[in-house]
C-alpha cells in the first residue's frame, strides 16, 4: 500500500515565478493538508482540502492556492515566488480528522 507521494522532490525557481506541487494521498484517505516547514522549524499549516473544497486555511497570503481532484489528489500552487518561500512543503493525508500521514515533501529553493 503506497503511502503519501509528492512530486517533485526538489525544485529550484527564481523570484516572481510560479510553482505547482503535487500530492497523492494514502489509499483510502479523503482529506489532504499542506504544510510549509522552514529549516529548523515545525511544519506550519497552509490549508486543508476535503471533498474538493478548501475547508481550513492558515495564515498564508492568497499567493498560495490549492486544488483537490475527484480522486483526492491535490496540488499546491504558489504565485509570485519570494525568497522567503524557500522551504520544505509537506503534504499530509488523513481519513476524516484522525492522525496525519505525511509525504516526504518537496524541497523548494527560490533564488
Amino acid at each position: 500500500d503506497a503511502g503519501v507521494t509528492q512530486s517533485p522532490t526538489h525544485l529550484i525557481k527564481t523570484r516572481g515565478q510560479q510553482v505547482t506541487l503535487r500530492c497523492s494521498p494514502k489509499s483510502g484517505h479523503d482529506t489532504v493538508s499542506w504544510y510549509q516547514q522552514a529549516l529548523g522549524q515545525g511544519p506550519q499549516f497552509i490549508f486543508q482540502y476535503y471533498e474538493e473544497e478548501e475547508r481550513q486555511r492558515g495564515n498564508f497570503p492568497d499567493r498560495f492556492s490549492g486544488h483537490q481532484f475527484p480522486n483526492y489528489s491535490s496540488e499546491l500552487n504558489v504565485n509570485a515566488l519570494l525568497l522567503g518561500d524557500s522551504a520544505l512543503y509537506l503534504c499530509a493525508s488523513s481519513l476524516g480528522h484522525e492522525k496525519l500521514f505525511f509525504g516526504s515533501g518537496t524541497q523548494l529553493s527560490v533564488l
Binding site: 493538508s33 504544510y35 529548523g40 515545525g42 511544519p43 492558515g58 488523513s94 480528522h97 484522525e98 505525511f102
Partner: protein, 109 residues
C-alpha cells in the same frame, strides 16, 4: 499561538529515559506527537484527547494536563532508532494543527 517545546535538544545514551514537554497558552482540545528523522517525513506517534483518551504508539507514553495546558512525551529505555526531532501539534483534532519548533533527540550507543 505556537506551542512551546522543551528542551530544544537532548542527548542521551541508549537505555536512558527522556521527557519532552509541550505547553500552550490556549486551551487544548488535543495534542498530537510526531517524530521526524533527518530528510524524512514526520511520522505519527500519539494523539491525546481532552478527557484522557490516548491513541498511539505501544512503546511511548504521554500525558495530557488540560488544566495546565501541557503535554509530556515519555521515552523509556531509549533505543538508537528514537533519534530524531519530536514535534507536538495542538488544535481541534487533525483539522488544523499548530506545531511547536521541535525537540531534537540524539541517542548515542
Amino acid at each position: 499561538q505556537q506551542p512551546v517545546q522543551s528542551p530544544q535538544a537532548v542527548i542521551l545514551r541508549e537505555g536512558e529515559d527522556a521527557v519532552i514537554n509541550c505547553s500552550s497558552s490556549k486551551a487544548l482540545y488535543s495534542v498530537h506527537w510526531y517524530r521526524q528523522k533527518h530528510g524524512e517525513a514526520p511520522v505519527f506517534l500519539m494523539i491525546l484527547l481532552k478527557g484522557g483518551e490516548q491513541k498511539g504508539h505501544e512503546k511511548i507514553s504521554a500525558s495530557f494536563n488540560e488544566k495546565k495546558q501541557q503535554s509530556s512525551l515519555y521515552l523509556t529505555a531509549s533505543q538508537l532508532s528514537y533519534s530524531g526531532t519530536y514535534f507536538c501539534g495542538t488544535g481541534g483534532s487533525a483539522r488544523q494543527l499548530t506545531f511547536g519548533s521541535g525537540t531534537q533527540l540524539t541517542v548515542l550507543p
